[in-house]
Protein backbone atom coordinates (compact mmCIF):
# COMPACT_ATOMS: atom_id res chain seq x y z
CA UNK A 1 0.00 0.00 0.00
CA UNK A 2 2.02 2.95 -1.28
CA UNK A 3 -0.90 5.27 -0.55
CA UNK A 4 0.04 5.28 3.12
CA UNK A 5 2.72 7.90 2.36
CA UNK A 6 -0.07 10.49 2.00
CA UNK A 7 -0.82 10.00 5.69
CA UNK A 8 2.65 11.09 6.84
CA UNK A 9 1.97 14.85 7.01
CA UNK A 10 -0.99 14.14 9.28
CA UNK A 11 1.05 11.77 11.40
CA UNK A 12 3.74 14.44 11.81
CA UNK A 13 1.09 17.02 12.63
CA UNK A 14 -0.53 14.75 15.21
CA UNK A 15 2.84 13.84 16.71
CA UNK A 16 3.89 17.47 17.18
CA UNK A 17 0.60 18.89 18.39
CA UNK A 18 -1.04 15.98 20.20
CA UNK A 19 1.32 13.17 21.15
CA UNK A 20 4.30 15.27 22.24
CA UNK A 21 2.19 17.67 24.35
CA UNK A 22 0.49 14.69 26.00
CA UNK A 23 3.85 13.23 26.96
CA UNK A 24 4.97 16.65 28.22
CA UNK A 25 1.80 16.77 30.30
CA UNK A 26 2.53 13.34 31.77
CA UNK A 27 6.17 14.33 32.37
CA UNK A 28 5.29 17.49 34.30
CA UNK A 29 2.49 15.75 36.19
CA UNK A 30 4.63 13.01 37.65
CA UNK A 31 7.99 14.68 38.11
CA UNK A 32 9.52 17.26 40.38
CA UNK A 33 12.76 19.19 39.87
CA UNK A 34 15.06 19.41 42.91
CA UNK A 35 18.77 20.24 43.43
CA UNK A 36 19.65 16.57 42.90
CA UNK A 37 17.84 16.59 39.53
CA UNK A 38 14.47 15.25 38.28
CA UNK A 39 12.64 12.50 40.13
CA UNK A 40 9.22 10.84 39.91
CA UNK A 41 6.52 11.95 42.35
CA UNK A 42 2.79 11.84 43.05
CA UNK A 43 2.77 14.97 45.19
CA UNK A 44 1.09 17.18 42.54
CA UNK A 45 -1.77 14.74 42.16
CA UNK A 46 -2.14 14.53 45.93
CA UNK A 47 -2.31 18.33 46.16
CA UNK A 48 -5.48 18.39 44.13
CA UNK A 49 -7.27 16.57 46.94
CA UNK A 50 -6.83 19.58 49.19
CA UNK A 51 -10.34 20.92 49.92
CA UNK A 52 -9.63 24.25 48.22
CA UNK A 53 -8.88 22.68 44.84
CA UNK A 54 -11.38 19.88 45.22
CA UNK A 55 -14.15 22.46 45.69
CA UNK A 56 -13.13 24.19 42.47
CA UNK A 57 -13.16 20.87 40.62
CA UNK A 58 -16.57 19.89 41.99
CA UNK A 59 -18.04 23.31 41.26
CA UNK A 60 -16.78 23.14 37.66
CA UNK A 61 -18.35 19.74 37.16
CA UNK A 62 -21.60 20.86 38.80
CA UNK A 63 -21.89 24.00 36.66
CA UNK A 64 -21.04 22.02 33.52
CA UNK A 65 -23.72 19.47 34.42
CA UNK A 66 -26.31 22.21 35.00
CA UNK A 67 -25.33 23.80 31.70
CA UNK A 68 -25.64 20.42 29.91
CA UNK A 69 -29.06 19.70 31.40
CA UNK A 70 -30.36 23.18 30.53
CA UNK A 71 -28.98 22.85 27.00
CA UNK A 72 -30.70 19.48 26.62
CA UNK A 73 -34.02 20.80 27.97
CA UNK A 74 -33.93 23.75 25.57
CA UNK A 75 -32.09 22.08 22.72
CA UNK A 76 -34.17 18.94 22.25
CA UNK A 77 -37.50 20.73 21.68
CA UNK A 78 -35.74 23.25 19.43
CA UNK A 79 -34.20 20.44 17.34
CA UNK A 80 -37.60 18.74 17.22
CA UNK A 81 -39.31 21.89 15.97
CA UNK A 82 -36.56 22.63 13.45
CA UNK A 83 -36.73 19.13 12.01
CA UNK A 84 -40.53 19.19 11.83
CA UNK A 85 -42.56 19.40 8.65
CA UNK A 86 -43.10 23.14 8.88
CA UNK A 87 -39.44 24.11 8.90
CA UNK A 88 -37.67 21.25 7.12
CA UNK A 89 -38.60 22.81 3.78
CA UNK A 90 -37.03 26.19 4.43
CA UNK A 91 -33.81 26.14 6.37
CA UNK A 92 -34.15 29.75 7.57
CA UNK A 93 -34.77 28.92 11.21
CA UNK A 94 -31.94 26.40 11.32
CA UNK A 95 -29.72 29.02 9.75
CA UNK A 96 -30.73 31.60 12.35
CA UNK A 97 -29.48 29.14 14.92
CA UNK A 98 -26.13 28.75 13.25
CA UNK A 99 -25.43 32.38 12.36
CA UNK A 100 -24.40 33.46 15.90
CA UNK A 101 -21.73 30.75 15.73
CA UNK A 102 -20.06 32.68 12.91
CA UNK A 103 -19.29 35.49 15.36
CA UNK A 104 -16.33 35.04 17.66
CA UNK A 105 -17.55 33.73 20.95
CA UNK A 106 -15.48 36.26 22.92
CA UNK A 107 -17.42 39.04 21.23
CA UNK A 108 -20.69 37.34 22.07
CA UNK A 109 -19.67 36.89 25.69
CA UNK A 110 -18.64 40.55 25.97
CA UNK A 111 -22.08 41.41 24.63
CA UNK A 112 -23.61 39.51 27.53
CA UNK A 113 -21.41 41.49 29.92
CA UNK A 114 -22.87 44.74 28.71
CA UNK A 115 -26.39 43.30 28.84
CA UNK A 116 -26.09 41.96 32.37
CA UNK A 117 -23.74 44.53 33.90
CA UNK A 118 -24.44 47.50 36.15
CA UNK A 119 -26.14 50.13 33.96
CA UNK A 120 -26.51 47.43 31.35
CA UNK A 121 -29.65 46.98 29.31
CA UNK A 122 -31.45 44.75 31.82
CA UNK A 123 -30.49 46.98 34.75
CA UNK A 124 -31.78 50.03 32.88
CA UNK A 125 -35.11 48.36 32.15
CA UNK A 126 -35.45 47.44 35.82
CA UNK A 127 -34.69 51.02 36.80
CA UNK A 128 -37.18 52.32 34.28
CA UNK A 129 -39.88 50.09 35.79
CA UNK A 130 -38.89 51.31 39.28
CA UNK A 131 -37.88 47.83 40.29
CA UNK A 132 -34.92 47.20 42.55
CA UNK A 133 -31.61 46.84 40.79
CA UNK A 134 -30.37 43.25 40.65
CA UNK A 135 -26.86 41.90 40.63
CA UNK A 136 -26.71 39.71 37.52
CA UNK A 137 -23.15 39.87 36.36
CA UNK A 138 -20.48 38.01 38.36
CA UNK A 139 -22.83 35.28 39.63
CA UNK A 140 -23.20 31.55 39.04
CA UNK A 141 -26.31 32.33 37.00
CA UNK A 142 -24.41 34.60 34.67
CA UNK A 143 -21.75 31.91 34.10
CA UNK A 144 -24.34 29.21 33.42
CA UNK A 145 -26.24 31.60 31.14
CA UNK A 146 -23.06 32.35 29.21
CA UNK A 147 -22.22 28.68 28.87
CA UNK A 148 -25.74 27.70 27.79
CA UNK A 149 -25.83 30.54 25.27
CA UNK A 150 -22.47 29.60 23.78
CA UNK A 151 -22.84 25.83 23.78
CA UNK A 152 -26.54 25.42 22.91
CA UNK A 153 -25.89 25.01 19.16
CA UNK A 154 -23.61 22.06 19.96
CA UNK A 155 -26.60 20.37 21.56
CA UNK A 156 -29.12 21.34 18.90
CA UNK A 157 -27.16 20.43 15.78
CA UNK A 158 -26.34 16.74 16.46
CA UNK A 159 -29.92 16.08 17.63
CA UNK A 160 -31.29 18.00 14.65
CA UNK A 161 -29.17 16.01 12.24
CA UNK A 162 -30.28 12.66 13.73
CA UNK A 163 -33.93 13.76 13.66
CA UNK A 164 -33.85 14.93 10.04
CA UNK A 165 -32.21 11.67 8.97
CA UNK A 166 -34.87 9.60 10.74
CA UNK A 167 -37.08 7.58 8.40
CA UNK A 168 -40.45 9.36 8.42
CA UNK A 169 -42.27 6.13 7.58
CA UNK A 170 -41.22 4.70 10.97
CA UNK A 171 -43.10 7.55 12.65
CA UNK A 172 -46.06 6.99 10.33
CA UNK A 173 -45.97 3.28 11.15
CA UNK A 174 -46.23 4.07 14.85
CA UNK A 175 -49.16 6.44 14.27
CA UNK A 176 -50.75 3.81 12.08
CA UNK A 177 -50.52 1.32 14.94
CA UNK A 178 -52.48 3.67 17.18
CA UNK A 179 -49.83 5.86 18.80
CA UNK A 180 -50.71 9.50 19.39
CA UNK A 181 -48.00 12.16 19.19
CA UNK A 182 -46.85 11.84 22.81
CA UNK A 183 -46.52 8.05 22.50
CA UNK A 184 -44.65 8.37 19.21
CA UNK A 185 -42.29 10.83 20.88
CA UNK A 186 -41.75 8.61 23.92
CA UNK A 187 -41.49 5.23 22.23
CA UNK A 188 -40.00 6.05 18.83
CA UNK A 189 -38.51 9.51 18.32
CA UNK A 190 -36.62 9.89 21.60
CA UNK A 191 -35.15 6.36 21.69
CA UNK A 192 -34.06 6.63 18.05
CA UNK A 193 -32.49 10.06 18.56
CA UNK A 194 -30.36 8.97 21.52
CA UNK A 195 -27.13 8.89 19.47
CA UNK A 196 -27.67 12.58 18.72
CA UNK A 197 -28.50 13.34 22.35
CA UNK A 198 -25.35 11.59 23.51
CA UNK A 199 -23.06 13.39 21.11
CA UNK A 200 -24.85 16.63 22.06
CA UNK A 201 -24.19 15.98 25.73
CA UNK A 202 -20.51 15.24 25.10
CA UNK A 203 -20.11 18.27 22.89
CA UNK A 204 -21.62 20.57 25.52
CA UNK A 205 -20.25 19.02 28.70
CA UNK A 206 -16.61 18.98 27.63
CA UNK A 207 -16.15 22.62 26.64
CA UNK A 208 -18.34 23.62 29.61
CA UNK A 209 -16.21 21.80 32.15
CA UNK A 210 -12.97 23.23 30.78
CA UNK A 211 -14.03 26.80 30.04
CA UNK A 212 -12.09 29.64 31.60
CA UNK A 213 -13.03 32.59 29.41
CA UNK A 214 -16.76 32.53 30.19
CA UNK A 215 -16.16 32.17 33.92
CA UNK A 216 -13.55 34.98 33.83
CA UNK A 217 -15.74 37.43 31.89
CA UNK A 218 -19.14 36.67 33.41
CA UNK A 219 -17.98 35.37 36.78
CA UNK A 220 -15.47 38.08 37.50
CA UNK A 221 -11.80 38.02 38.46
CA UNK A 222 -12.34 36.19 41.75
CA UNK A 223 -14.44 33.49 40.15
CA UNK A 224 -12.41 30.29 39.81
CA UNK A 225 -13.36 27.23 37.80
CA UNK A 226 -11.03 24.39 36.97
CA UNK A 227 -10.11 26.03 33.67
CA UNK A 228 -9.15 29.25 35.46
CA UNK A 229 -7.11 27.27 37.95
CA UNK A 230 -5.07 25.61 35.21
CA UNK A 231 -4.57 28.90 33.40
CA UNK A 232 -3.48 30.52 36.66
CA UNK A 233 -0.94 27.80 37.45
CA UNK A 234 0.73 28.16 34.07
CA UNK A 235 0.56 31.92 33.54
CA UNK A 236 0.40 33.58 36.97
CA UNK A 237 1.96 31.14 39.43
CA UNK A 238 4.31 29.47 36.97
CA UNK A 239 3.90 26.04 38.57
CA UNK A 240 3.82 23.93 35.43
CA UNK A 241 3.90 20.71 37.43
CA UNK A 242 0.72 21.42 39.37
CA UNK A 243 -0.96 22.91 36.28
CA UNK A 244 -0.19 19.72 34.39
CA UNK A 245 -1.47 17.59 37.25
CA UNK A 246 -4.86 19.37 37.22
CA UNK A 247 -5.04 19.06 33.43
CA UNK A 248 -4.19 15.37 33.77
CA UNK A 249 -6.97 14.76 36.30
CA UNK A 250 -9.43 16.69 34.13
CA UNK A 251 -8.43 14.67 31.07
CA UNK A 252 -8.99 11.44 33.01
CA UNK A 253 -12.43 12.66 34.13
CA UNK A 254 -13.35 13.50 30.54
CA UNK A 255 -12.08 10.13 29.29
CA UNK A 256 -14.19 8.36 31.90
CA UNK A 257 -17.25 10.40 30.91
CA UNK A 258 -16.71 9.56 27.26
CA UNK A 259 -16.29 5.90 28.14
CA UNK A 260 -19.61 5.88 29.97
CA UNK A 261 -21.30 7.72 27.10
CA UNK A 262 -19.89 5.28 24.59
CA UNK A 263 -21.34 2.38 26.53
CA UNK A 264 -24.81 3.82 26.08
CA UNK A 265 -24.34 4.49 22.42
CA UNK A 266 -23.24 1.66 20.17
CA UNK A 267 -23.26 3.71 17.01
CA UNK A 268 -21.01 6.40 18.34
CA UNK A 269 -21.16 9.46 16.13
CA UNK A 270 -20.00 12.41 18.19
CA UNK A 271 -16.50 11.13 18.83
CA UNK A 272 -15.33 11.84 15.32
CA UNK A 273 -15.94 15.56 15.77
CA UNK A 274 -13.37 15.73 18.50
Amino acid sequence: MRRTCYAYPYLVWMAIFIVVPLFLLLFYTFTVTTHEGIRLTLEHIKRIWEPLYLMVLLRSILLALICTVVCLLIGYPVALILSGKEYSQNKVLALLFVIPMWINFLVRTYAWMSLLGRNGLIDMVMEFLHLPSVQLLYTDHAVVLGMVYNFLPFMVLPIYSVLTKMDKSIIEAAQDLGADYITVLKRIIIPLSLPGVISGITMVFMPAVTTFIISRLLGGGQYILIGNLIEQQFIVVGDWHFGSAISFVLTVIILITMGIMRKYDKEYEGGAIW
Partner: protein, 349 residues
Protein backbone atom coordinates in the same frame (compact mmCIF):
# COMPACT_ATOMS: atom_id res chain seq x y z
CA UNK B 1 -75.99 -1.77 -3.52
CA UNK B 2 -76.77 -4.61 -1.15
CA UNK B 3 -74.20 -3.82 1.50
CA UNK B 4 -72.69 -0.58 2.69
CA UNK B 5 -69.10 -0.47 1.36
CA UNK B 6 -66.48 -0.43 4.09
CA UNK B 7 -64.60 2.50 2.56
CA UNK B 8 -65.90 5.17 0.24
CA UNK B 9 -63.95 8.01 -1.34
CA UNK B 10 -66.16 10.81 -2.60
CA UNK B 11 -64.83 13.45 -5.00
CA UNK B 12 -61.37 13.29 -3.45
CA UNK B 13 -58.74 15.67 -4.86
CA UNK B 14 -55.21 16.31 -3.69
CA UNK B 15 -52.55 18.78 -4.83
CA UNK B 16 -48.84 18.76 -4.06
CA UNK B 17 -47.19 22.13 -4.66
CA UNK B 18 -49.55 22.93 -7.49
CA UNK B 19 -49.46 19.57 -9.26
CA UNK B 20 -52.65 17.54 -9.11
CA UNK B 21 -51.93 14.15 -7.58
CA UNK B 22 -55.57 13.12 -7.44
CA UNK B 23 -58.40 14.54 -9.52
CA UNK B 24 -61.89 14.00 -8.20
CA UNK B 25 -61.57 10.33 -7.26
CA UNK B 26 -64.72 8.33 -6.52
CA UNK B 27 -64.19 4.82 -5.27
CA UNK B 28 -65.82 2.34 -2.98
CA UNK B 29 -64.27 -0.71 -1.41
CA UNK B 30 -66.45 -3.65 -0.39
CA UNK B 31 -65.97 -5.60 2.78
CA UNK B 32 -63.60 -8.58 2.52
CA UNK B 33 -62.48 -7.90 -1.02
CA UNK B 34 -58.92 -7.76 -2.27
CA UNK B 35 -58.76 -4.47 -4.12
CA UNK B 36 -55.65 -3.39 -6.02
CA UNK B 37 -54.76 0.13 -7.03
CA UNK B 38 -52.69 -0.34 -10.16
CA UNK B 39 -50.84 2.20 -12.24
CA UNK B 40 -47.47 3.61 -13.23
CA UNK B 41 -45.49 5.66 -10.71
CA UNK B 42 -46.98 9.09 -10.14
CA UNK B 43 -50.50 7.94 -10.99
CA UNK B 44 -51.80 8.73 -7.49
CA UNK B 45 -52.21 5.18 -6.18
CA UNK B 46 -49.98 5.69 -3.13
CA UNK B 47 -51.61 9.06 -2.42
CA UNK B 48 -55.01 7.34 -2.45
CA UNK B 49 -53.73 4.76 0.04
CA UNK B 50 -52.22 7.47 2.28
CA UNK B 51 -55.52 9.33 2.30
CA UNK B 52 -57.30 6.16 3.43
CA UNK B 53 -54.64 5.63 6.13
CA UNK B 54 -54.94 9.25 7.24
CA UNK B 55 -51.37 10.39 6.53
CA UNK B 56 -52.63 12.84 3.92
CA UNK B 57 -55.67 15.04 4.07
CA UNK B 58 -57.55 15.48 0.81
CA UNK B 59 -57.83 19.09 -0.41
CA UNK B 60 -61.46 18.47 -1.22
CA UNK B 61 -63.84 15.54 -1.00
CA UNK B 62 -64.46 13.11 1.82
CA UNK B 63 -63.51 9.66 3.05
CA UNK B 64 -66.13 7.43 4.63
CA UNK B 65 -65.49 4.37 6.76
CA UNK B 66 -68.52 2.15 7.34
CA UNK B 67 -70.65 5.15 6.46
CA UNK B 68 -68.95 7.55 8.88
CA UNK B 69 -66.99 10.56 7.64
CA UNK B 70 -63.36 10.03 8.73
CA UNK B 71 -61.76 12.71 6.55
CA UNK B 72 -60.41 14.59 9.56
CA UNK B 73 -59.68 11.60 11.77
CA UNK B 74 -55.94 11.27 12.57
CA UNK B 75 -54.28 7.97 11.54
CA UNK B 76 -53.99 6.65 15.09
CA UNK B 77 -57.78 6.69 15.48
CA UNK B 78 -58.54 4.78 12.28
CA UNK B 79 -59.40 1.10 12.15
CA UNK B 80 -56.96 0.45 9.33
CA UNK B 81 -53.35 -0.68 9.43
CA UNK B 82 -50.63 -0.22 6.86
CA UNK B 83 -47.79 -2.36 5.55
CA UNK B 84 -45.18 0.08 4.28
CA UNK B 85 -43.12 -0.17 1.14
CA UNK B 86 -39.81 -0.24 3.04
CA UNK B 87 -41.37 -2.15 5.96
CA UNK B 88 -40.67 0.72 8.44
CA UNK B 89 -39.92 -1.66 11.30
CA UNK B 90 -38.74 -0.07 14.55
CA UNK B 91 -34.98 -0.68 14.51
CA UNK B 92 -34.58 -0.37 18.29
CA UNK B 93 -37.03 -3.19 19.05
CA UNK B 94 -36.88 -6.93 18.44
CA UNK B 95 -39.44 -8.84 16.40
CA UNK B 96 -41.83 -9.47 19.29
CA UNK B 97 -41.67 -5.85 20.50
CA UNK B 98 -42.33 -4.59 16.99
CA UNK B 99 -45.41 -6.75 16.65
CA UNK B 100 -46.61 -5.98 20.18
CA UNK B 101 -46.36 -2.20 19.64
CA UNK B 102 -50.01 -1.71 18.69
CA UNK B 103 -51.24 -4.13 21.38
CA UNK B 104 -49.29 -2.34 24.12
CA UNK B 105 -50.89 0.96 23.13
CA UNK B 106 -54.25 -0.75 23.54
CA UNK B 107 -53.02 -1.68 27.04
CA UNK B 108 -53.64 -5.42 26.70
CA UNK B 109 -52.15 -7.57 29.44
CA UNK B 110 -48.79 -9.28 28.87
CA UNK B 111 -50.22 -12.81 28.62
CA UNK B 112 -52.65 -11.85 25.85
CA UNK B 113 -49.95 -9.93 24.01
CA UNK B 114 -47.58 -12.87 24.17
CA UNK B 115 -50.23 -15.25 22.87
CA UNK B 116 -51.30 -12.96 20.02
CA UNK B 117 -47.70 -12.33 18.96
CA UNK B 118 -47.00 -16.08 18.87
CA UNK B 119 -50.19 -16.69 16.87
CA UNK B 120 -49.50 -14.05 14.26
CA UNK B 121 -45.86 -15.16 13.92
CA UNK B 122 -47.10 -18.63 13.14
CA UNK B 123 -49.50 -17.19 10.59
CA UNK B 124 -46.62 -15.54 8.70
CA UNK B 125 -44.34 -18.59 9.12
CA UNK B 126 -41.89 -16.94 11.51
CA UNK B 127 -42.42 -19.15 14.54
CA UNK B 128 -39.67 -18.74 17.12
CA UNK B 129 -38.37 -15.42 15.77
CA UNK B 130 -39.65 -13.42 18.78
CA UNK B 131 -36.28 -12.43 20.21
CA UNK B 132 -34.47 -11.77 16.92
CA UNK B 133 -33.41 -8.21 16.16
CA UNK B 134 -35.17 -6.88 13.08
CA UNK B 135 -31.92 -5.81 11.48
CA UNK B 136 -30.67 -9.39 11.42
CA UNK B 137 -33.61 -10.50 9.25
CA UNK B 138 -33.64 -10.87 5.47
CA UNK B 139 -35.88 -8.66 3.34
CA UNK B 140 -38.53 -11.35 3.05
CA UNK B 141 -38.55 -11.97 6.79
CA UNK B 142 -38.74 -8.24 7.57
CA UNK B 143 -41.70 -8.09 5.21
CA UNK B 144 -43.42 -10.86 7.15
CA UNK B 145 -42.79 -9.04 10.42
CA UNK B 146 -44.29 -5.87 8.95
CA UNK B 147 -47.37 -7.82 7.85
CA UNK B 148 -47.63 -9.51 11.26
CA UNK B 149 -47.28 -6.16 13.04
CA UNK B 150 -50.25 -4.82 11.09
CA UNK B 151 -52.39 -7.98 11.25
CA UNK B 152 -52.03 -8.53 14.99
CA UNK B 153 -54.24 -5.47 15.58
CA UNK B 154 -57.04 -7.23 13.71
CA UNK B 155 -57.73 -4.24 11.45
CA UNK B 156 -60.91 -4.05 9.41
CA UNK B 157 -58.84 -3.01 6.42
CA UNK B 158 -55.20 -3.74 5.68
CA UNK B 159 -53.45 -1.25 3.43
CA UNK B 160 -50.38 -2.50 1.57
CA UNK B 161 -48.09 -0.07 -0.26
CA UNK B 162 -46.09 -2.05 -2.80
CA UNK B 163 -45.12 -4.47 -0.04
CA UNK B 164 -43.28 -6.87 -2.35
CA UNK B 165 -41.43 -4.25 -4.37
CA UNK B 166 -38.06 -4.86 -2.75
CA UNK B 167 -38.14 -8.66 -2.98
CA UNK B 168 -36.67 -10.79 -5.75
CA UNK B 169 -38.98 -12.45 -8.25
CA UNK B 170 -39.15 -15.91 -6.68
CA UNK B 171 -39.77 -14.60 -3.17
CA UNK B 172 -42.36 -12.20 -4.55
CA UNK B 173 -44.33 -15.03 -6.18
CA UNK B 174 -44.29 -16.97 -2.93
CA UNK B 175 -45.43 -13.97 -0.91
CA UNK B 176 -48.23 -13.23 -3.38
CA UNK B 177 -49.72 -16.64 -2.74
CA UNK B 178 -49.20 -16.30 0.99
CA UNK B 179 -50.81 -12.86 1.18
CA UNK B 180 -53.81 -14.14 -0.72
CA UNK B 181 -54.02 -17.12 1.68
CA UNK B 182 -53.89 -14.82 4.72
CA UNK B 183 -56.52 -12.53 3.23
CA UNK B 184 -58.89 -15.44 2.55
CA UNK B 185 -58.26 -17.01 5.94
CA UNK B 186 -58.78 -13.88 8.03
CA UNK B 187 -61.47 -12.39 5.82
CA UNK B 188 -59.96 -8.91 6.00
CA UNK B 189 -60.36 -6.26 3.33
CA UNK B 190 -57.03 -5.70 1.57
CA UNK B 191 -56.23 -2.52 -0.33
CA UNK B 192 -53.09 -3.23 -2.28
CA UNK B 193 -50.95 -0.76 -4.22
CA UNK B 194 -48.69 -1.99 -7.01
CA UNK B 195 -47.32 -1.04 -10.40
CA UNK B 196 -46.91 -4.71 -11.32
CA UNK B 197 -49.84 -5.70 -13.56
CA UNK B 198 -49.14 -9.40 -13.20
CA UNK B 199 -49.25 -9.14 -9.41
CA UNK B 200 -52.54 -7.28 -9.66
CA UNK B 201 -54.06 -9.87 -11.96
CA UNK B 202 -52.93 -12.78 -9.76
CA UNK B 203 -54.16 -11.53 -6.40
CA UNK B 204 -57.07 -9.15 -6.81
CA UNK B 205 -60.82 -9.43 -6.66
CA UNK B 206 -61.07 -5.91 -8.02
CA UNK B 207 -58.49 -3.87 -9.89
CA UNK B 208 -58.55 -0.08 -10.07
CA UNK B 209 -56.36 1.13 -12.92
CA UNK B 210 -55.11 4.68 -12.36
CA UNK B 211 -53.26 7.20 -14.45
CA UNK B 212 -52.36 10.86 -13.78
CA UNK B 213 -54.55 11.04 -10.70
CA UNK B 214 -57.67 9.68 -12.35
CA UNK B 215 -59.30 6.27 -12.34
CA UNK B 216 -59.20 4.67 -15.80
CA UNK B 217 -61.14 1.50 -15.12
CA UNK B 218 -62.51 -0.52 -12.22
CA UNK B 219 -63.27 -4.20 -12.65
CA UNK B 220 -62.35 -7.81 -12.02
CA UNK B 221 -58.97 -8.99 -13.38
CA UNK B 222 -60.72 -10.81 -16.23
CA UNK B 223 -62.72 -7.73 -17.19
CA UNK B 224 -59.69 -5.50 -17.09
CA UNK B 225 -57.62 -7.88 -19.18
CA UNK B 226 -60.24 -8.94 -21.70
CA UNK B 227 -62.25 -5.76 -21.96
CA UNK B 228 -59.89 -2.86 -21.35
CA UNK B 229 -61.81 0.38 -21.47
CA UNK B 230 -59.18 2.36 -23.34
CA UNK B 231 -55.82 1.99 -25.00
CA UNK B 232 -53.97 3.03 -21.83
CA UNK B 233 -55.46 0.21 -19.79
CA UNK B 234 -54.88 -2.24 -22.62
CA UNK B 235 -51.27 -1.17 -22.89
CA UNK B 236 -50.65 -1.20 -19.16
CA UNK B 237 -52.28 -4.57 -18.56
CA UNK B 238 -50.21 -6.85 -20.69
CA UNK B 239 -48.59 -6.00 -23.98
CA UNK B 240 -50.68 -4.80 -26.88
CA UNK B 241 -50.54 -3.65 -30.43
CA UNK B 242 -52.28 -0.30 -30.51
CA UNK B 243 -53.02 0.92 -34.03
CA UNK B 244 -54.90 4.02 -35.11
CA UNK B 245 -58.05 3.15 -37.02
CA UNK B 246 -61.39 4.45 -38.25
CA UNK B 247 -64.81 3.00 -37.58
CA UNK B 248 -66.60 2.65 -40.92
CA UNK B 249 -69.86 1.38 -39.49
CA UNK B 250 -71.01 -0.98 -36.76
CA UNK B 251 -68.82 -4.11 -36.75
CA UNK B 252 -66.53 -2.84 -39.52
CA UNK B 253 -63.25 -1.07 -38.85
CA UNK B 254 -60.55 0.26 -41.15
CA UNK B 255 -56.89 0.03 -40.10
CA UNK B 256 -53.52 -0.98 -41.55
CA UNK B 257 -54.80 -0.39 -45.03
CA UNK B 258 -57.62 -2.92 -44.82
CA UNK B 259 -61.20 -3.27 -43.67
CA UNK B 260 -61.67 -5.71 -40.83
CA UNK B 261 -64.77 -7.27 -39.38
CA UNK B 262 -65.04 -6.77 -35.68
CA UNK B 263 -67.58 -7.21 -32.88
CA UNK B 264 -67.80 -3.62 -31.59
CA UNK B 265 -70.57 -1.23 -32.36
CA UNK B 266 -71.99 2.02 -31.14
CA UNK B 267 -69.35 4.33 -32.59
CA UNK B 268 -70.04 7.25 -34.85
CA UNK B 269 -69.58 6.92 -38.59
CA UNK B 270 -65.89 7.42 -39.47
CA UNK B 271 -64.93 7.97 -35.83
CA UNK B 272 -61.18 7.85 -35.19
CA UNK B 273 -60.47 5.00 -32.78
CA UNK B 274 -57.64 2.99 -31.24
CA UNK B 275 -57.52 -0.63 -32.32
CA UNK B 276 -56.02 -2.90 -29.68
CA UNK B 277 -54.85 -6.40 -30.53
CA UNK B 278 -53.10 -8.67 -28.01
CA UNK B 279 -49.83 -10.13 -29.35
CA UNK B 280 -51.05 -13.68 -28.66
CA UNK B 281 -54.20 -13.08 -30.75
CA UNK B 282 -52.36 -12.60 -34.03
CA UNK B 283 -52.01 -15.95 -35.81
CA UNK B 284 -49.11 -16.70 -38.11
CA UNK B 285 -50.31 -18.28 -41.38
CA UNK B 286 -48.53 -19.15 -44.67
CA UNK B 287 -47.87 -16.29 -47.10
CA UNK B 288 -50.99 -15.35 -49.00
CA UNK B 289 -53.42 -16.43 -46.34
CA UNK B 290 -54.78 -13.98 -43.81
CA UNK B 291 -55.50 -10.27 -44.29
CA UNK B 292 -51.96 -8.97 -43.82
CA UNK B 293 -48.62 -9.99 -45.30
CA UNK B 294 -45.31 -9.10 -43.71
CA UNK B 295 -41.70 -9.90 -43.02
CA UNK B 296 -40.31 -11.13 -39.68
CA UNK B 297 -37.92 -8.47 -38.38
CA UNK B 298 -36.80 -9.95 -35.08
CA UNK B 299 -37.32 -12.99 -32.89
CA UNK B 300 -36.79 -13.15 -29.12
CA UNK B 301 -37.12 -16.33 -27.09
CA UNK B 302 -39.23 -15.63 -23.98
CA UNK B 303 -39.42 -19.08 -22.39
CA UNK B 304 -43.01 -20.14 -22.95
CA UNK B 305 -43.31 -18.37 -26.29
CA UNK B 306 -41.39 -16.48 -28.94
CA UNK B 307 -41.86 -12.76 -29.33
CA UNK B 308 -41.67 -11.74 -32.97
CA UNK B 309 -41.82 -8.34 -34.59
CA UNK B 310 -43.40 -8.53 -38.02
CA UNK B 311 -43.40 -5.50 -40.31
CA UNK B 312 -46.53 -5.10 -42.37
CA UNK B 313 -48.33 -2.09 -43.83
CA UNK B 314 -45.80 0.24 -42.17
CA UNK B 315 -46.62 -1.09 -38.72
CA UNK B 316 -44.46 -3.20 -36.41
CA UNK B 317 -46.70 -5.97 -35.09
CA UNK B 318 -45.77 -7.68 -31.89
CA UNK B 319 -46.72 -11.35 -32.01
CA UNK B 320 -46.48 -14.00 -29.32
CA UNK B 321 -46.44 -17.56 -30.62
CA UNK B 322 -45.10 -20.93 -29.55
CA UNK B 323 -44.03 -21.51 -33.17
CA UNK B 324 -41.05 -19.63 -34.49
CA UNK B 325 -40.63 -18.12 -37.95
CA UNK B 326 -37.02 -17.18 -38.82
CA UNK B 327 -36.02 -13.57 -39.33
CA UNK B 328 -36.54 -12.47 -42.93
CA UNK B 329 -39.25 -14.98 -43.77
CA UNK B 330 -42.41 -13.61 -45.35
CA UNK B 331 -45.62 -14.71 -43.71
CA UNK B 332 -49.31 -13.93 -43.46
CA UNK B 333 -51.10 -12.62 -40.36
CA UNK B 334 -54.64 -13.54 -39.40
CA UNK B 335 -56.70 -11.63 -36.84
CA UNK B 336 -60.13 -12.93 -35.83
CA UNK B 337 -62.99 -10.44 -35.41
CA UNK B 338 -63.46 -11.16 -31.68
CA UNK B 339 -59.76 -10.38 -31.05
CA UNK B 340 -60.03 -6.87 -32.41
CA UNK B 341 -60.79 -4.45 -29.57
CA UNK B 342 -61.98 -1.00 -30.53
CA UNK B 343 -61.43 1.85 -28.05
CA UNK B 344 -62.25 5.50 -27.95
CA UNK B 345 -59.15 7.59 -28.55
CA UNK B 346 -57.26 8.80 -25.49
CA UNK B 347 -53.98 10.63 -25.35
CA UNK B 348 -51.21 8.16 -24.52
CA UNK B 349 -48.14 9.43 -22.79
Amino acid sequence: MAEEPIIRLVNVSKNYDGTEALKDINLYIRKNEFLTLLGPSGCGKTTTLRIIAGFERPDSGAVFFEGKDITDLPPYKRKVNTVFQRYALFPHMNVAENIAFGLRIKKLDNKTIERKVAEVLELVNLKGFEKRSVESLSGGQQQRVAIARALVNEPEVLLLDEPLGALDLKLRKGMQIELKRIQKMLGITFVYVTHDQEEALTMSDTIVVMKDGTIQQIGTPEMIYNEPKNAFVADFIGESNIIPGRMLKDRLVYFAGHEFECVDSGFEHNEEVDVVIRPEDIKLVPMGEGMLQGEVESVTFKGVHYEMIVRSEGINWMIHSTLMEPVGSRIGLRILPQDIHIMKKVALK
